[in-house]
């Protein structure tokens, strides 16, 4: 039961993600260089945050041409969990494994701040152990995190339970002020139709130890634990 953390040139949350899985959660985890083609021996893959290929051309675009994407696609086909965090989300969108696009933040600036996120659906491997309406605290750090999808498709995404997390305010409500980057419908995380491929802009690996959180929370662990319980249980949704 090994988790792969895929390392692209320019990934920079790879070691942080590895650290949390290994040291905090005691999981069997390995870094996998992007030039590998196969992920067959792994049960799940995480595409970590960072600036793969310097975000040159478009965030996540060049990474989709890496050999490892074949392994990712094979995994996805087999229903094994694939979690893209931040730049990983951007890569999954660019690869067409998740719908929509991630555009420049509406502020036109890089934003690094803690956010509150409401669980919208449990139809994914990272939220299946959570309850709808629960509010989690995790930080974001991105320049291109404004999720975009045409309105009619957003409705469909919502109906299918593919919207996993939304940015909310102190009262747990969505409004313009609680939406840090101008995402359509305040979306922070989504999944594909199977619930196995997930993209999220917030960083759970930065929110997995109380000491790192200004709120003494460790909500990031809920995301990782949910994912791990899935592969430990060997179930698919």
């Amino acid at each position: 039961m090994t988790v792969a953390v895929v390392r692209f040139p320019g990934s920079n949350c790879d070691l942080d993600t590895l650290y949390v899985l290994k040291r905090v959660l005691n999981t069997d985890v390995q870094l996998v260089w992007h030039q590998e083609r196969s992920l067959e021996s792994y049960e799940a893959a995480i595409l970590p945050g960072g600036f793969s290929y310097g975000d040159y051309l478009r965030a996540g675009a060049i990474a989709t041409q890496s050999p490892i994407m074949k392994g990712i696609r094979d995994m996805a086909r087999k229903g094994k969990p694939v979690l893209g965090i931040c730049n990983g989300f951007q890569i999954l969108v660019e690869a067409g494994l998740l719908p929509g696009a991630l555009l420049r933040n509406s502020s036109l600036r890089f934003m690094c701040q803690w956010t509150m996120l409401r669980v919208e659906s449990t139809a994914s491997v990272i939220t299946r152990r959570l309850e709808v309406g629960r509010v989690l605290r995790m930080p974001i750090a991105h320049n291109e995190g404004r999720y975009f999808l045409p309105e009619n498709q957003i409705e469909e995404l919502d109906r299918r339970g593919q919207i996993l997390l939304r940015y909310v305010n102190n009262q747990g409500l969505c409004n313009d002020e609680s939406n840090p980057n101008g995402s359509c419908s305040s979306i922070a995380a989504i999944c594909d139709r199977t619930g196995n491929i997930i993209g999220m802009m917030p960083h759970p690996e930065r929110a997995s130890e109380k000491i790192l959180s200004p709120f003494h929370s460790d909500d990031g662990l809920l995301i990782f634990r949910s994912l791990l319980s899935q592969i430990q249980g060997g179930m698919t949704l």
């Binding site: 920079n12 942080d16 600036f51 310097g54 502020s107």
Partner: protein
């Protein structure tokens, strides 16, 4: 060819070589003897700074200072600036400044783990040019630091019209390594291969070191002296270099910064008492028609020079190939202490290493400026104290900087425990369970009135910042920024600054482990030098494996507010004089050096006591601004009796706005007040209970039976938080 060497220097070179000097040799010497690389004006004075200490493994004169933090771990630290490039091209200049200092930390074999950025701009409330500089400098720092994945965890910003065209863009980097695997530059041996790794060499940044060693001209052609940033390549270099280092394949290394190959090659071999033989036709270049002088002097970014054990070159090549990094083996280390530069078969330079790296020092004259006309009638104390406090909170130097640090990824690396804005210093965790506190400070307004006292004060404030998170200062690096050293008054202020820093370091036993000097900072139009701007970066250690760590926001209604330290009539250079009265002059705060060490140590000790809820030092804006910041951050009110403040004055504006050093405000649980006060009194420190935390969400201050300040916390917060976004056009 334009050379910045003086006539005497040229004559000396000719005399020593006793033969005709080739054009390439001239350009090598010109780069290495520039002020930027040789410290020829400053070196003899810098020797006055104390550099020894129990934790110091490597002091000034190297790529980075090295401090022992226990259990085999070391922290490395260095500071650089990119003032001239940033004044011309703020985005590229600031970004490449970050890149340069990261490679300094890497050169010694440590992993960069944090960046801090002290910045100085003109008056952004009036100048669109300064706002443009600020916006793009910050974007440059953010995009580079964020992309390479090194958190920017701190910084500070000052605004003053003397920086209008010559902004100051400093960047400090802290690294983490292990004492037994550091890479020291003296380790190269004859036969070792010299590998040039990373970005290809092009025309960008040609002669940047000499560009930095003269005054800005406002000439558009200077833009070619600014390099082009490529953080992606930098990230690959960091990972590949650390991997090659872990494999034990690197004997020594040097980053390519100011002076390019012309400086890196001699510096990589000189401390090992060796020479080098290189062939420029082997260098991987961006443009095929570069002449030898250009290849040697190019400051193209993201390049490292490795000194590799010849038996391990294959291994290093494999690592570089895996990361897709270009490289070329350009020569080797030789026993003879000379630098030989060829292009194919042709020998173009053959210079003794000692001649290249030992520039003759200059004896600069210093002259105390004639005492400036001191205004005899300092501004009269105004009556609308509340409005003044609001104005100060909204002045850019004091206002919230979240617009700035919100653009920096300060969390990557999962080490940042106390984050920017929450406390006086940022705190990172270390792998041995201890904690590292980082801060930087400078005060050009104090320094322009009294360079010596201002320098002492900047260091004092930085050390207080560390004490406010429970950390003892263990080492500092300084960045000394001045005008033209040939100006006797400028040089006098430089001399006073170094002496001030030395006095403070000796008083609290703080070693200086590195630094940088940047001269020739002056306004390109008026030719007036910038205000003297020493900036210090100080690291502190929390030698306690499970400390409670907290910021300065007020925590609980009913707690007592205690002040430590005495307030003196010292409004010179204060934000109050400068911002409210537009008055520059008066008496600058003086550090009580005799008691400083005791004071710092006691605050560090007190921080660990139960019942202490927050600690904040008094600095820019004075005591009332300190209190306001504690209210804003904690979202609670406070009521204070100004009569209780221990002071050498009873004049209200001096009580509230004086920036006297050595003062802290503590929030203390009621039950612990007596005990805490007694322990501080026993040490002979002035201490008084001046008020308490209120639930009324107002900051109230009474004096002589009258309420002089009564401000709602949300209103203060709004003015303080919105000031910079409003200036930068984000709130209209």
């Amino acid at each position: 060819m334009f050379l910045s060497l003086t006539r005497d220097e040229k004559a000396l070179v000719q005399r020593q070589l006793g033969r005709k000097v080739t054009p390439l040799e001239w350009s090598i010497i010109d780069a290495e003897w520039s002020e930027h690389c040789s410290y020829k004006s400053s070196k003899s004075l810098l020797k006055e700074l104390p550099t020894k200490g129990a934790r110091v493994l490597l002091g000034p004169g190297f790529d980075a200072g090295v401090l022992d933090v226990g259990d085999g771990y070391v922290v490395t630290i260095h500071v650089e600036s990119h003032n001239h490039p940033s004044a011309i091209d703020p985005y590229g200049g600031a970004a490449t400044g970050v890149g340069g200092v990261l490679r300094d930390i890497l050169s010694i074999g440590s992993r960069p783990i944090a960046l801090l950025d002290p910045l100085r701009f003109g008056d952004v409330t009036k100048s669109g040019h300064s706002r443009w500089l600020m916006k793009n400098v910050i974007r440059g720092i953010a995009e580079y630091g964020n992309c390479v994945g090194i958190p920017t965890v701190g910084g500070e910003i000052e605004f003053d019209s003397s920086f209008e065209s010559n902004c100051l863009v400093d960047v400090a980097c802290v690294g983490l390594g292990q004492a037994d695997t550091l890479v020291y530059s003296q380790n190269g041996r004859p036969g070792d291969q010299l590998m040039l790794v990373g970005g290809s060499t092009g025309r960008d940044g040609i002669r940047g070191a000499t560009f930095a060693s003269r005054n800005l001209t406002g000439n558009e052609k200077d833009r070619a002296a600014v390099q082009v940033p490529d953080p992606f390549t930098e990230k690959l270099i960091i990972e590949a270099t650390l991997e090659a280092k872990e494999a034990g394949a690197l004997r020594a290394m040097k980053d390519l910064g100011g002076g390019g190959l012309a400086c890196a090659v001699p510096e990589a071999v000189s401390s090992g008492n060796c020479g080098a033989d290189i062939d420029l036709s082997l260098v991987h270049v961006r443009e095929s028609d570069l002449i030898a002088e250009e290849v040697m002097a190019s400051e193209s970014q993201e390049r490292m020079l490795y000194v590799v054990d010849p038996k391990r070159t294959r291994h290093v090549e494999q690592i570089l190939q895996r990361y897709g990094l270009p490289y070329s083996t350009i020569g080797h280390v030789i026993k003879q202490k000379v630098i030989k530069v060829r292009k194919s078969e042709k020998l173009l330079a053959n210079l003794p290493v000692d001649l290249v790296v030992q520039a003759p020092l200059l004896q600069r004259r210093s002259l105390k400026p004639k005492s400036r006309r001191v205004q005899l009638d300092p501004p009269r104390s105004p009556t609308n104290m509340g409005e003044i406090v609001l104005q100060l909170l909204a002045s850019p130097s004091i206002a919230s900087k979240s617009w700035v640090y919100g653009q920096y990824d300060h969390e990557v690396g999962v080490r940042t425990i106390l984050k920017p804005g929450a406390a006086d210093a940022s705190v990172l965790r270390l792998p041995n369970g201890k904690f590292l506190a980082l801060t930087c400070d400078g005060n050009s307004k104090h320094c322009s009135i009294s360079p010596g006292l201002g320098a002492e004060g900047s260091l004092a404030e930085a050390c207080r910042n560390l004490a406010c998170v429970g950390a003892l200062p263990i080492g500092m690096v300084d960045h000394l920024q001045f005008g033209d050293p040939g100006d006797h008054e400028v040089f006098w202020s430089f001399q006073q600054t170094v002496r001030g820093l030395s006095r403070y370091c000796r008083a609290i036993d703080l070693p200086c482990v590195g630094g940088k000097v940047s001269f020739y900072n002056e306004d390109s139009d008026t030719k007036i030098a910038i205000k003297p701007s020493p900036v210090v970066v100080v690291v502190g250690l929390i030698d306690n494996k499970a400390p409670k760590l907290f910021g300065f926001g007020l925590k609980e209604v009913g707690d007592a507010l205690i002040i430590v330290g005495s307030t003196a009539p010292e409004l010179g250079g204060s934000e109050y004089y400068e911002q409210i009265h537009g008055f520059s002059g008066g008496k600058v705060p003086k550090v009580d050096l005799r008691n400083e060490r005791k004071r710092i140590e006691n605050i560090v000790k007190i921080y660990r006591e139960p019942g202490i809820k927050s600690v904040h030092d008094c600095s820019k804006g004075g005591l009332i601004v300190t209190l306001a910041e504690m209210c804003i951050e904690g979202g609670l009110g406070a009521s204070v009796e100004a009569e209780q403040i221990p002071a050498k004055t009873r004049q209200i504006d001096e009580l509230l706005f004086s920036e006297s050093h050595g003062r802290f405000i503590l929030e203390v649980n009621r039950k612990m007040v007596k005990k805490i006060m007694k322990s501080l009194e026993d040490q002979g420190l002035p201490v008084a209970c001046i008020g308490q935390v209120d639930d009324g969400s107002h900051l109230r201050l009474k004096y002589g039976g009258k309420t002089l300040v009564d401000l709602s916390v949300p209103e203060m917060k709004q003015r303080w938080a919105e000031a910079i976004p409003r200036l930068m056009g984000d709130i209209v």
